[in-house]
């Protein structure tokens, strides 16, 4: 028993256990994002139903959809890249979610920052492009080329907005931005300080979520849901999971940049749901633009509003 007495137990107190907390956060954050995302998907479908004077789906509909799709007994795979593409699509958003600070959890936000987050949100589109490419369905190819064109369109105003916000706060760190906004109250929120950038950001959000005026790459009646055309069973289920993460990421990013993040979960979730409801409400009264019209519109109006906003911020 000599070796036991030789162990210096005093040293245990000095061992850093903070990494355990980080691991817990990295597991919890995507899980919370998924559950909140299910709620967001439900809200979008309910809004669509109410605007059409329908009752809409029951409360747990998004969950049943995902379970059902994964429980399909025959799955049509078009090859390895098809499957990896879906993994990339979900994985990109899971990584993005760990970079977004939420009340009580910072995850990797201190280490990552805004630029890393932007990179992560582009991975899903590229993963989807790989996966759809292997399906060799012409509708899918048209859809994914439109999706990437749409990304090119809304990324210009988005990058301008991100630049303006980062310039205003003097930092690319999301934790610092939230702290600065919460210290000064509503008067220091991004939406009060930079209303033009907030407006341009809302435009970019509409394109990012691919909602109706800019729904060019889904277009069910035209190219049969584009990238999703060959996706059945677990592949479509994976995309439904991705949609939950996508809505959550977009909503939380906007809340963090312009609405002061969240002091606690109640106000935070309220803000996220309100922000995500705006694009859907706008979407239901619009038809679809053509691809070139969307690019032209995005490179003209939100870009101009964003540049004007930057001029005010730099003043």
């Amino acid at each position: 028993m000599d070796w036991l007495s030789a162990v210096n137990l005093d040293g245990l107190a000095a061992v850093d256990f903070r990494w355990l907390g980080l691991v817990l956060e990295l597991i919890l954050m995507p899980l919370i994002a998924f559950v909140v995302g299910l709620g967001l998907v439900l809200m979008l479908r309910k809004i669509a139903a109410r605007l059409q004077r329908r009752v809409g789906p029951p409360l747990s509909q998004p969950l049943w959809d995902i379970i059902k799709l994964h429980a399909k007994e025959t799955q049509t795979s078009h090859g390895l890249i098809h499957e990896i593409g879906i993994v990339m699509a979900i994985g990109g958003y899971v990584a993005a979610v760990t970079l977004l600070p939420v009340p009580g959890m910072n995850g990797l936000a201190q280490q990552g920052g805004l630029i890393a987050l932007l990179y992560m949100t582009m991975i899903p589109s590229l993963g989807l492009a790989l996966g759809v490419g292997q399906c060799a369905n012409p509708n899918g190819s048209i859809g994914i080329s439109r999706a990437l064109t749409a990304m090119l369109a809304y990324d210009v105003p988005l990058v301008i907005v991100i630049f303006g916000v980062a310039f205003h706060f003097g930092s690319l760190n999301l934790v610092h931005m939230i702290a600065a906004q919460q210290a000064g109250g509503i008067a220091s929120w991004g939406i009060v300080q930079m209303p033009l950038l907030a407006l341009a950001g809302l435009f970019a959000l509409q394109g990012m979520l691919g909602k109706q005026p800019f729904e060019i790459y889904v277009a069910p009646a035209e190219i049969a849901t584009g990238p999703m055309v060959e996706m059945g069973g677990k592949f479509l289920g994976g995309l439904f999971v991705m949609q939950c993460f996508q809505l959550y990421t977009a909503g939380v990013l906007y809340v963090t940049l312009f609405l002061g993040g969240g002091e606690h979960w109640l106000t935070f979730l309220f803000k996220v749901f309100v922000v995500t409801a705006i694009p859907m409400t706008i979407a239901m009264v619009f038809p679809r633009y053509r691809t070139e019209d969307m690019v032209r519109l995005f490179w003209k109006w939100p870009t101009m509003i964003g540049l004007l906003g930057i001029a005010f911020v730099m003043n």
């Binding site: 479908r45 139903a49 059409q52 004077r53 329908r54 009752v55 809409g56 789906p57 029951p58 747990s60 509909q61 969950l63 049943w64 959809d65 379970i67 059902k68 799709l69 429980a71 399909k72 007994e73 025959t74 799955q75 049509t76 060799a136 069910p220 009646a221 049969a224 849901t225 999703m228 055309v229 060959e230 996706m231 059945g232 069973g233 479509l236």
Partner: protein, 259 residues
């Protein structure tokens, strides 16, 4: 091919596969809970591909929109066969249409359900004497539910869908397995209409083997005939044939040589 033309005697029980009890429970209690959950999810979430061939399609918009709202039951329209669970045939199927319906059906992922709406899918309806109309849909693919009427009102359509939901909950909606287990029967009927060299892009026999759905009647005289004519599928050649573009290109070529 004589036995295909046999007409079943009225009132006789339908042939049931021996050893396969509908809704059979697994012994593991956890597996039972899991199966129950999956069946519930499958019954509460149905994506519908409507193949609108006839006048019955008129009754679907009211069933989907504000008045009757199918989304309450978790039923929503989808646009591609890969995503769909239900194939809704609304009206008569002509010989030419039936080919497309079968291609669509074979591309769907199982479990899949077929619903025949209107009398035309049941027995040909008012097209009984037509030379170009397939009379009974369930000769060519297994049908889960027929909704008779000319045309059935949206209430009847929703009542039929509720029946399907009930069947899925009880594990009785497994007609899709019949297509794999008795493929020879269905293929025989298809060959009778479309000719001996009828072939679809989906290899049903290989799928039956892969998913362990092989039955004693999967192979037979008709699948042997299929194997004689079967050509291996090849990827389509990549080429663009836009007349406008080709004309412009040839004109440019001529201009180039003239200079």
């Amino acid at each position: 091919m004589t036995h295909i033309d046999q007409v079943p005697t009225p009132g006789a029980p339908l042939p049931v596969e021996i050893g396969v009890t509908p809704g059979a429970k697994r012994t593991n209690p956890f597996a039972q809970v899991f199966d129950e959950l999956v069946r519930f999810a499958q019954s509460r979430s149905l994506f519908m591909l409507h193949y609108c061939t006839g006048c019955g399609a008129v009754e679907l918009p009211p069933a989907m929109t504000a008045r009757f709202d199918m989304e309450r039951l978790g039923i929503q329209p989808m646009v591609s066969p890969r995503q769909a669970d239900i194939l809704l045939i609304t009206g008569y199927v002509s010989v030419k249409t039936l080919k497309r319906v079968i291609l669509t059906y074979e591309q769907m992922n199982s479990p899949k359900y077929v619903i025949g709406i209107c009398s035309c899918t049941v027995n040909g309806g008012m097209y009984w004497q037509s030379y170009a109309t397939a009379k009974k849909l369930n000769d060519y693919m297994p049908v889960d539910i027929y909704i008779a009427g000319c045309m059935p009102r949206p209430e009847a359509v929703i009542e039929g869908l509720r029946g399907l939901i009930e069947n899925i909950r009880n594990g009785r909606a497994d007609a899709w397995k019949d297509y794999y287990r008795r493929y020879d029967h269905y293929l025989g009927n298809q060959q009778r209409l479309f000719g001996a060299d009828w072939q679809t892009p989906t290899d049903v026999i290989a799928e039956a083997r892969h998913y362990d759905l092989f039955g004693p009647a999967t192979l037979g005289a008709h699948t042997a005939l299929l194997e004689q004519h079967q050509r291996p599928l090849e990827a389509l050649a990549m080429r663009i044939e836009i007349p406008e573009l080709m004309r412009r290109r040839s004109r440019a070529d001529q201009g180039g040589t003239a200079q």
